[in-house]
């Protein structure tokens, strides 16, 4: 067989943990090969070994049939292996071409920088693979999707034959994801080979030819994607069967909990990011906010929770206006908030779980008396949440949160917010970056809240998530409400159009 890249029997051990244990992956020329596994399964370690950032303890790497030793990323580049990182490594004020040639600049007269001929080559490459990138645009002026294409071009410019994509769709809109998938197919048609690291089964189904599944550092198997169902792959990845459809009954909306009336909010750049936004949310229903990232969702949530001042308009909770109330007063009047960025907003990473679980209630009995913390009550509270929300960590309540996995951090936040028993639960991107098992669990918890008669506001960039969980969906575009639709009466296509700003044909009425 002619494999471009073969990694056979790779083992890599870190102090206290075996990250890769006898993993084998074989990449055929001209295929898209998915590497599927949960967070912490060992995907990144394996690819870091291929890219020369780690040395394997055991095992063989072959490129085009020859044994190689990849001691650093430069060696990997020379062997034609390129990596598109999840977090882009671009210089913002530089142009596309300047970024691409960085490190292998074209010269003329020894010292002169020859941008023009480089730009020409970038343009050729861009055309050939259908990337549609302007070589003279500045990075800071182009969209995230475009920036990713620049990363791809960087690899092509260096004549990479094997491209590794590390979770490439995490930052993209649904439209951009489709475009990227098209680009990947173009690349393969032109003879490149691709390794796609992901835990999203839908994407694997859409583009990959074969898929290697790893779990807890071990190869579970390699399958032909066309012959394998999503469920089967998920089972291989998690080790048990997983349901994708969220089971839920019809909602029974009760009284109005949250009432937003023509709310206008400015963002940090003093531009109106939310314009005259109105929405009602009832007890016992989940309303999803669908929209492309950066269309006012953040400002909306911050204005409700009090983290940001509104310019005009009102937000009322249970009939009482919240205007002018502080974050703490709003928390105490019945708002729970699962924030978008759990590490920046939701947790004090250097505190223990116990300390994090009282983040909003530390000043109230029984957790403190007369200004003194009450460790016994705090511990009991933590143990309760850890138990009932299945938060796993090394040393129980005393573990530093920084040392926990993302999924467990998120479960801790959800436990904390749900335990406060708020009337309104705002969940922003509650499952971002989590594996299938955790996502399933969190979704069940959110529906449970709804069934208990709470109002849930779900903000998510994952259209699937919004469609699966919400009873009604409010679509936001450029800070304005495009329309509100019932989930049972809409589909992905219609929502996609509304997210792009097209009004629904018949004006939405309630």
């Amino acid at each position: 067989m002619d494999y471009v890249v073969e990694m056979v029997g790779i083992r890599k051990e870190f102090p206290g943990i075996v990250a890769n244990d006898d993993i084998t992956i074989q990449l055929k020329k001209g295929e898209i090969h998915a590497l599927l596994g949960e967070n912490g399964a060992g995907k990144s370690t394996l690819m870091s070994i291929l890219f020369g950032m780690y040395q394997p303890d055991r095992g063989v790497i072959k490129v085009n049939g020859k044994d190689v030793r990849i001691s650093n990323p430069n060696v990997a580049n020379k062997l034609g292996i390129g990596m598109v990182h999840q977090h882009f490594k671009l210089v913002e004020p530089f142009t596309v071409t300047e970024n691409i040639i960085l490190g292998s600049e074209t010269r003329k007269y020894y010292f002169g920088l020859d941008v023009r001929s480089a730009a020409k080559r970038v343009e050729e490459l861009s055309k050939r693979y259908g990337l549609n990138v302007d070589p003279y645009a500045k990075i800071e002026d182009i969209s995230v999707g475009m920036q990713q294409r620049v990363e791809i071009l960087k690899m092509l410019y260096r004549d990479a034959e094997v491209l590794i994509f590390d979770e490439p769709t995490a930052v993209l809109t649904p439209q951009e994801i489709q475009d990227l998938q098209g680009i990947m197919k173009n690349l393969v048609n032109e003879g490149k080979s691709i390794i796609l690291i992901t835990h999203k089964l839908k994407e694997i189904k859409a583009v990959a030819d074969r898929c290697t599944v790893i779990r807890r550092g071990k190869t579970i198997g390699t399958v032909e994607v066309a012959d394998t169902s999503r469920e089967a792959m998920a089972e291989m990845m998690v080790g048990r069967s997983v349901s994708f459809k969220v089971d839920k009954q019809d909602s029974r909306p009760g009284k109005t909990v949250l009432e937003i009336q023509s709310l206008t909010v400015k963002n940090s750049k003093k531009v109106e990011a939310l314009k005259g936004f109105s929405l009602d949310l009832h007890a016992g229903e989940i309303v999803g906010i669908a929209g492309v990232d950066g269309n006012g969702q953040t400002e909306l949530v911050e204005a409700i929770t009090g983290l940001r001042q509104a310019e005009s308009g009102t937000v009322s909770l249970n009939g009482k206006a919240l205007n002018g109330l502080s974050v703490r007063q709003r928390n105490e009047s019945g708002i729970g908030h699962i924030p978008e960025d759990r590490q920046k907003r939701g947790l004090v990473l250097d505190y223990t779980i116990e300390e994090n679980l009282i983040l909003e209630v530390y000043n109230r009995p029984p957790y403190s008396k007369n200004g003194l913390l009450q460790p016994a009550a705090i511990r009991k509270h933590a143990e309760h949440i850890i138990q009932s929300f299945d938060v796993r960590s090394g040393t129980g309540g005393r573990s530093i949160v920084r040392s926990m996995s993302g999924g467990n951090q998120q479960k801790a936040i959800i436990g904390r917010e749900v335990e406060r028993d708020p009337d309104l639960l705002i969940a922003v991107q509650p499952t971002r970056g989590l594996d299938v098992g955790s996502i399933e669990y969190i979704h069940r918890r959110l529906i449970e809240q709804r069934d208990k008669g709470k109002a849930v506001l779900l903000v998510s960039l994952e259209l699937d998530e919004v469609l699966n969980l919400s009873d009604r969906i409010a679509v936001i575009n450029n800070g304005e409400l495009v329309g509100i639709v019932k989930t049972s009466e809409t589909n992905e296509r219609e929502l996609g159009l509304m997210m792009a700003g097209y009004q629904k044909e018949e004006a939405p009425h309630e």
Partner: protein, 351 residues
């Protein structure tokens, strides 16, 4: 690896490096260290003097450590100490009160003086996001020149233009029974202030909701905001307490260890406080221990240079090297991990 182990290793390496330095310059390290330690601890008087030397260091170390624990880098302890000490001295020279009351007022005023000096940078940080490193340094010089102007103008000494008047005995922390206990040492009530401050700060940081708030703001401002903590108020309050502690160092130094204030000197204890906090891993008890250790080095070095040919600067070099090792403890940790890995690998091969 435990943090206090790291600090002890830093001290050990510093002492070894000091021994090398002594050996390289042609002196006997064993003798050098013998006299250095004797100089600090030989008899009750020397022990008392070591304690007195350590007193302002405990307080400035505590000041820096407290700020650091709450996410602020207060390197203006020198200015806060100077101004706090100046306020206490001014009160001591001006008010005529019963001794107990006078001392209480002086301590209070010293605390508030230092605290106000730190609140300005705290306010600038909270309101305008001015970095406290810059503003506290500027406040150092503001204190320096304020004292430079006010002392000769209003509290001029009998003979010298560059010194304040001597404090009357009632307005000093000096206590006869304490001196007698340590056989004539200048150790004074300041030591008790320092020890009480250590206990109060340890309690405040670890047991109270206020400590929880201030630390949370220090670790993660955004999460604190999310939790409903008044972030700006917390920053100002942290600086207030940190500056107050440095102010107490000024009280201990200028009305306890000394009896008058000189102009034109920014107290070195302010900057040594950073080192003390670093070596004491920003924990109150750690600060106490590391300040005492620095006290031994500082008060023993004179004796060492008197009894041997070793220059007293060697003691300063040892301190400097210890700081380097404490600051680069990450390197020590890496070395330790490498050794452990190698040992594990050897073991495996042995099997």
């Amino acid at each position: 690896m435990n943090n206090s182990v790291k600090s002890l290793l830093a001290v050990l390496f510093g002492l070894i490096a000091g021994a090398l330095l002594m050996a390289l310059t042609g002196h006997n390290p064993v003798e050098g260290y013998k006299y250095l330690i004797q100089g600090g601890l030989k008899n009750p008087e020397r022990i008392g003097n070591t304690l007195a030397t350590a007193t302002p260091l405990i307080l400035t170390g505590l000041s820096v450590a407290f700020a650091f624990r709450t996410g602020l880098f207060n390197i203006g302890a020198a200015g806060q100490m100077l101004f706090g000490g100046f306020c206490a001295t001014a009160v001591g020279l001006s008010l005529d009160l019963p001794r107990a009351l006078l001392l209480l007022v002086m301590v209070l005023v010293g605390f508030i003086g230092g605290a106000l000096w730190a609140v300005v940078p705290g306010f600038l940080k909270a309101k305008y996001n001015v970095h406290e490193v810059v503003s506290t340094i500027m406040m150092n010089w503001t204190a320096y020149w304020t004292v430079y102007y006010v002392i000769p103008g209003y509290f001029k000494g009998a003979s010298l233009e560059t010194e304040s008047r001597q404090l009357p005995p009632e307005a000093m922390l000096h206590q006869q029974w304490l001196s007698d206990m340590f056989q004539g040492s200048y150790v004074n009530l300041g030591l008790f202030i320092a020890v009480i401050a250590v206990l109060v700060v340890a309690f405040l940081i670890n047991k109270t909701t206020l400590g929880y708030e201030l630390k949370a703001v220090g670790f993660n401002r955004h999460a604190s905001e999310y939790a409903g903590i008044a972030v700006k108020r917390s920053i100002v309050l942290s600086m207030f307490i940190s500056g107050g502690l440095a102010g107490l160092a000024g009280v201990a130094q200028y009305t306890g260890n000394a009896s008058s204030m000189q102009i034109g000197i920014l107290p070195s204890q302010g900057f040594d406080g950073i080192a003390v906090a670093l070596l004491g891993i920003n924990a109150p008890i750690g600060v106490l221990v590391s300040a005492l250790f620095f006290g031994i080095l500082y008060s023993g070095r004179g004796f060492m240079s008197a009894m041997t040919e070793i220059p007293p600067e060697i003691a300063d070099s040892i301190i400097a090297i210890i700081i380097y090792f404490a600051a680069t403890s990450i390197l020590i940790e890496r070395l330790y991990r490498k050794l452990k890995l190698r040992r594990a690998a050897n073991k495996k091969q042995g099997e």
